[in-house]
């Protein structure tokens, strides 16, 4: 199939979780689908701590063991004081190997009939009479073009494609966290159960608005990273300083360096144009409190695929017909993500002293719910009892 001049029903740009999950669902409905990814190897380099909650298996089936670096019970949250609480959920989760996971999802799409192609950098949408009709770029450095009835951009936040279709996808600077991560080997947190948890340190000294993390991949290897609101000092400076304060991490080796900006809010209201749909991180569909985007990408890719399949059957891929995806995503995920964004807006205004107190007061199972955008009235109730936090309580409700 390589380089066949062909018209597809749908072209998907980006073979991450959103793109591959959309591709599989579309291909299963007998639609012809092409997926193009600029990278030579899917999922590499990662821009991600690789955490995923197991509930996502309801959407993608059982994750193969080769994609899983570590099974986890939950999260261990460290207050600025150093005291920690364990946040567990019966479903648990994984720290993935993104290169294996992303390749698995792409192979699943290919097995369903999608035509997947790496090393394909798409620079331009082909637009005719206002409708997106295809893509143009390079395949291994040679000019490349393909046409389709509709194009999905599942490219991550930096893609120029949505802008060419008239969508406003640039992230506001105050709505991203800037992050650096080292994959480190030969570390040790001196807690016998530490590989059972992803570890998260919060506090304005450690990581303003964000957090420092250690996501284990086996007993002595982990993704060690840190994200912050963009400011005068970059996150690498914070990360290096924090690692130096943790001798059992500092003694480890750096075997990979990753970085990126993660959207922490500002989910797009308008995600469609004539013949065009945007999914996943490209639509800022990321959990605003923890920055996890894999689950949201999978859900949005599948929702978009359902709407697109309907629109293609009806022969109408206009912005108006596709706008059902805006409605479906906002009712399925967006409103909840907006709640999480409010939680993040409150979190960034709370002092380290208050964070220490709150972690003592709040029930761990409630903190888990807050991170999904649920039970925020419980948090508001606690904040309302402290006069200086009452305004924040009101913001949550």
């Amino acid at each position: 199939m390589i380089l066949m001049a062909e018209e597809f029903d749908v072209i998907i740009v980006g073979a991450g979780p959103a793109g591959s999950c959309a591709a599989k669902k579309l291909a299963q409905q007998e639609l012809s689908v092409a997926v193009y990814d600029r990278r030579a190897e899917m999922g590499c380099p990662k821009r991600c701590g690789e955490g995923l909650d197991k509930k996502v298996e309801q959407f993608i089936g059982t994750v193969p063991s080769r994609c899983i670096a570590q099974k986890i019970k939950g999260g261990r949250l460290y207050a600025p004081s150093g005291k920690h609480v364990d946040l567990t959920a019966d479903y648990g989760g994984y720290v993935l190997e993104r290169h294996s996971f992303d390749k698995w999802l792409a192979v699943e799409a290919a097995k369903a009939g999608a035509h997947v192609q790496t090393n394909t950098l798409i620079r331009k949408l082909i637009i005719e009479n206002g409708f997106v009709k295809g893509v143009a770029g390079e395949f291994v450095g040679e000019p490349f073009e393909a046409r389709a009835k509709l194009v999905i951009s599942a490219t991550g936040a930096e893609s120029p494609l949505p802008r060419q279709a008239g969508l406003k996808t640039a992230c506001a600077l105050n709505l991203v966290d800037t992050c650096v991560q080292y994959e480190m080997a030969n570390i040790d947190l001196r807690q016998s159960d530490w590989p059972d948890f992803i570890h998260v340190w919060i506090g304005n000294e450690i990581a303003p608005r964000g957090y420092a993390w250690v996501f284990p991949k086996g007993n002595t290897t982990a993704n060690v990273g840190l994200g912050i609101v963009p400011g005068a000092v970059n996150p690498k400076v914070y990360l290096d300083r924090w690692i130096r304060s943790m001798p059992d991490i500092a003694k480890g080796s750096i075997v990979e360096v990753n970085a990126g900006a993660v959207p922490v809010g500002g989910m797009l209201k308008e995600m469609v144009a004539d013949g065009f749909v945007v999914c996943g991180e490209a639509a800022h569909q990321v959990n605003p409190i923890h920055g996890g985007g894999i689950k949201e990408a999978i859900i949005s890719g599948q929702l978009a695929a359902d709407v697109i399949a309907d629109c293609l059957k009806n022969g109408d891929v206009s912005k108006k017909a596709l706008s059902k995806y805006n409605d479906l995503w906002w009712s399925a995920r967006g409103n909840q993500m907006r709640n999480v964004e409010k939680l993040r807006e409150v979190f960034e205004k709370i002092s380290d002293k208050d964070l220490n107190e709150l972690i003592d007061i709040l029930k761990p199972e409630d903190i888990v719910e807050f991170s999904h955008g649920s039970k925020l009235s419980v948090l508001a109730g606690v904040l309302a009892k402290k006069p200086h936090l009452a305004l924040l309580a009101r913001h949550l409700l």
């Binding site: 992230c171 506001a172 991203v176 800037t178 650096v180 970059n234 970085a259 990126g260 900006a261």
Partner: protein, 57 residues
């Protein structure tokens, strides 16, 4: 005066491209800046995780 990228520092993560308010940046092998669109606003400099970009007016 101008926009400079330290290619030895740059991790090619695309953070600068994602936040550029003027669509001046695109991620090729490295981020490339279209100086016809760039206003030297400094947003890319602020987001860069490793301070690889310097902007001066």
């Amino acid at each position: 005066m101008g926009w400079t990228l330290n290619r030895d520092k740059c991790l090619k993560c695309g953070a600068c491209v994602a936040v550029c308010p003027f669509a001046a940046l695109e991620l090729e092998s490295f981020p490339e800046n279209d100086l016809k669109k760039c206003t030297l606003c400094g947003t890319c400099e602020k987001v860069c995780p490793v301070s690889a970009i310097k902007v001066s007016k």
